[in-house]
């Protein structure tokens, strides 16, 4: 019963996350939008777990654990870059050029 709406809302949230990644230049905000995308996916999993078994929820568990690890390392990288470049604006960070 709740599956349809849940999937719709999940789609919208995911799209919002993508739009945010494309719109923003601040590295941290982009990161947050990625987290938003992950959450949207979590919602899908949980919604389908109602129908297909508890494996969906177990997967969400793992997603959260990995997201936590990813956030820690990612933010550490941003910190390190900030130390060198004094900015987190992605437009100014183009060391990968060429």
């Amino acid at each position: 019963m709740l599956l349809g709406p849940a999937l719709a809302i999940s789609a919208v949230l995911f799209t919002l996350g993508v739009a945010g990644v494309l719109l923003r230049r601040n590295a941290i905000v982009i990161f947050m939008c990625v987290e938003l995308m992950l959450n949207a996916v979590n919602l899908t999993f949980v919604a389908l777990a109602q129908r297909l078994g508890v494996g969906g929820q177990v997967f969400v568990f793992f997603v959260m654990a990995v997201a936590a690890a990813e956030a820690a390392v990612g933010l550490a990288i941003i910190l390190a870059v900030y130390r060198h470049k004094q900015t987190v604006n992605l437009q100014n960070i183009n060391i990968l050029k060429g």
Binding site: I9, V12, R51
Partner: protein, 170 residues
Amino acid sequence: MTLTFFWIFGVIAMAGGLLCITRKNPIGSALWLVVTLFALAAMYVLLDAQFIAALQVLVYAGAIMVLFLFVIMLLNLGRPGPSDIKGPVGVGVAALLAGTLLLQLRVLGQAAPPEAIQLPAGTMAALQQQGMVAAVAGPLFDAYLIPFEITSLLLLAAIVGAVVLAKRKL
């Protein structure tokens, strides 16, 4: 009833997401994301995933977002400054791509949902007895034991990595 509440929290989540991506101030973005996460936790409860809802609040909203806020404040990004939202061209491209994505997802969503699995008789009653925590924990230590253990290794690697990367001097 459930549906109404579901929609209420759904709208809150979507609004929160929209506001998150449009705030100039990163602190604002972070806080609106927290709102979204809370709304999602409520939705999980309504979807019979209480354990996951609790985890959402504890881990996501509680730990990860706090970490975000710490980093933002550490880098002194909370002050108002020049906006980091892209100009009209960027907005146009983002709108186009996001719109296309939404359309495609809607199309996918129209597909017939998969058949619900047939649980053996009496399983739901047993589950009600156990509670959802046990329902999730069972497979976790049973069928998904190896991923569980690897995840712990992953977390260890993340800790070490974060420390190494963020240190001023090794």
